[in-house]
């Protein structure tokens, strides 16, 4: 009788304590899917209930069996954030296993998120069986999905999702065909004077598609071209072969002659016409000597103008040759196991001041270099080649990026005038340990995104002065080196100020915060996709009718 009374008293005390704790401590009231209570002591689903009134009894029953509670622990072992994460995982799991909206894949097996409608790296096998590992990866995406917004967003409809997947499949299928067309048919390789691709169907210049070299035309352009054809091109919808020939497109988009020459040529033409008219008028006149003199004068002027045209043509050809050479000298992307590199490089003038490189430091280390010389054009192009080469030479054998940068600055400084400098980010990645050592000589921050990290977005801004500003002492004293251990799922983003300083018609800059937003949104995808979206959204921000005002370079590295 006494035992029974004691037990009842203990049960009543527990009930009282539990009532207070459930009401007062948020970690004790985390529920998944409105029916599963998660125990903050053991982290497992402790009670499944239909009505709130059942909760107290069921939690009490769980605690009697909970090993952590039995040990005497009363304070929660998990934080509310951790338990919320667990609850969201359980909710995602339940949805994935029961709702077709969560099971959609494209022809390559890539899962599509029902909230943001984006493809992901999550693969659903052909037999459609989704295991816990796959659900875990879906959950990783969902946690950083801007459209899911930690459960606050609304999913799209199944019809919307299937339409998106169909469009993706169409783009993927078309990409292969576009690559073949580019290789085989000149009309698919036409570009305007700035190197932007010209669509053979709608005959529009696509400013966001860089066709300035065969590398960009075959590597980055096909997916962009396919997206344009599938989503925007009215001409392509007929699905016939393009009606235009390469010559016709080139004739439309032939660069206009420089104004000075145009006026000179016009003057010459006017003069020649005047001379011809004059000669005709004088044909029957006795003053033929005067006409001859006039003709001689005209001929002399024409010869001078021809020479002028020839000089300018040579100069232009020289610049185009320099641009071609510069594009040919672009470094190849490293092909390393577990790392996916991608680059977008767009010079705004004939010769660029932006540069990047991946110098091999040692057998186990690779350098990542990105930089921007102040100004652009031929002068910046020469300095850029110098800076890139000097840093790449000094990189060999130096595990410390700071040591490389200090030695490079000392070599570069004497060759630059005081209005020219280069901002540079240079890092060394150890391929075995995956340690990334970073320096930043006045350049934009180095960004890292991984939804599995907390916080998911990191901005590395070690201190450092731009290259070529100081002879050496101050440069070395201010240059900091920082480090970070990379992990699976990390996305590293390097970019030049052609991205962050792009201005729209209202003279508002794109800014580093918007770059971070883009990384937050697309950083969970492949590097190629992130860079494509960033580039496209920067172009959209700038406005289709506005030309590039600065070179653009973006490097994305995904750790797999």
């Amino acid at each position: 009788m006494l035992d029974k009374w004691k037990k009842e008293r203990e049960a009543a005390k527990l009930r009282e304590w539990l009532t207070g704790t459930l009401a007062a401590n948020p970690a004790w009231s985390v529920v998944a899917g409105r029916t599963q209570w998660i125990c903050p002591l053991c982290g497992l689903v402790g009670a499944t209930f239909q009505a709130r009134t059942e909760l107290l009894d069921k939690v009490g029953a769980h605690l009697e069996a909970c090993p952590v509670f039995k040990e005497g622990t009363r304070g929660p072992k998990f934080t509310k954030d951790q338990l919320d994460l667990k609850a969201r995982f359980l909710e995602v799991k339940a949805l994935v296993l029961s709702n077709p909206l969560w099971q959609q894949r494209d022809s390559r097996g890539r899962w599509f998120c029902p909230y943001c409608l984006r493809d992901s790296e999550v693969q659903i096998p052909l037999d459609g069986k989704i295991n816990l590992d796959i659900i875990d990866k879906m959950h990783v995406h969902i946690e950083s999905c801007f459209a899911y917004d930690h459960g606050r967003g609304q999913p799209k409809t199944l019809a919307d999702l299937q339409r998106t997947i169909q469009a993706h499949d169409a783009v993927a299928k078309l990409e292969v065909q576009v690559k073949q067309k580019i290789a085989a048919t000149p009309v698919w390789r036409v570009r305007d004077a700035k190197g932007s691709w010209v669509c053979p169907y709608c005959r529009q210049v696509l400013l966001s598609i860089n066709a300035s070299s065969m590398i960009t035309l075959t590597e980055t352009a096909p997916v962009q071209i396919s997206m344009h054809l599938v989503n925007h091109c009215a001409g392509y919808r007929s699905k016939r072969e393009p009606a235009a020939t390469a010559q016709e497109l080139e004739a439309i988009f032939k660069p206009a002659a420089p104004p000075v020459l145009a006026s000179a040529t016009a003057a010459a033409a006017a003069a020649a016409a005047a001379a011809a008219a004059s000669a005709e008028a004088d044909a029957n006149s006795a003053t033929r000597i005067l006409t001859d003199q006039l003709m001689q004068k005209m001929k002399k002027e024409m010869a001078e103008i021809r020479a002028e045209v020839q000089v300018d043509k040579s100069a232009r050809l020289g610049l185009e040759e320099a641009r071609k050479k510069q594009m040919q000298m672009l470094p190849e992307l490293p092909k390393l196991p577990g790392l996916d590199f991608h680059v977008i490089y767009k010079p705004c003038s004939t010769v660029a001041g932006d540069f990047y490189d991946f110098p091999r430091v040692s057998e186990d280390e690779i350098g990542i270099l990105i930089g921007d010389v102040s100004g652009h054009g031929i002068e910046a192009g020469i300095v850029m080649a110098l800076v890139r080469k000097v840093i790449s030479i000094h990189a060999k054998g130096k595990s410390s990026p700071k040591a490389t940068m200090v030695a490079s600055n000392a070599d570069i400084y004497p060759d630059l005038d005081r209005s020219t400098f280069a901002t540079v980010s240079y890092c060394v990645l150890n391929l075995k340990t995956r340690e990334l050592r970073m320096t930043r000589a006045g350049h934009n921050p180095i960004l890292l995104f991984n939804p599995a990290r907390s916080p998911s977005l990191l901005s590395f801004e070690p201190k450092g002065m731009a290259v070529g500003v100081d002879k050496g002492l101050r440069f070395e004293a201010t240059l900091e080196e920082s480090a970070c251990d990379l992990q699976r799922g990390d996305m590293l983003l390097f970019f030049t100020d052609g991205i962050s300083e792009t201005a729209n018609a209202q003279k508002e800059e794109f800014g580093i915060d918007r770059v971070k937003e883009e990384l937050n949104q697309y950083g969970g995808h492949e590097a190629k996709y992130l860079l494509h979206m960033l580039d496209m959204n920067v172009a959209e921000f700038r406005g289709a009718e506005r030309e590039l005002e600065d070179d653009i370079t973006i490097i994305g590295i995904k750790v797999k």
Binding site: R418, S419, T423, A441, G442, M465, E549, D550
Partner: protein, 111 residues
């Protein structure tokens, strides 16, 4: 971007109104160089109304600062806002330029 200037006791103030974007660099540089050609050697560039400045314009400031120093003059920055100051800090150039908070401080530095 718009530029105006005023004479102060012992130095010249160039006031920059609006952001200095890529398309403004040439006119910005020409304006500063025109002062030098008029033998104005002590210049304070007032930047309180500038929210962003591109690297080309910073290069122009550095080039002119060097030329003025060689001629016995100096170029300083006056009251840049936090955004612009951060750009100079990011590039490590806050250690290259002298930066002042008021015309009075600037005047003392030039005297």
């Amino acid at each position: 971007m718009e530029l105006s200037s005023k004479d102060r006791e012992g130095f010249h103030v160039v006031e920059v109104h609006g952001n200095i974007l890529v398309g403004d660099v040439d006119s910005f540089e020409m304006y500063l160089k025109s002062l030098k050609s008029r033998n104005v050697l002590k210049i304070a560039v007032e930047m309180s109304q500038v929210d962003s400045i591109v690297s080309g314009a910073i290069g122009a400031l550095m080039g002119l600062a060097d030329e003025l120093e060689a001629m016995g003059g100096r170029l300083v920055l006056l009251t840049p806002n936090v955004k612009v100051l951060n750009v100079f800090r990011r590039m490590g150039l806050d250690q290259v330029f002298r930066i002042y908070d008021s015309e009075e401080e600037t005047r003392r530095s030039f005297s």
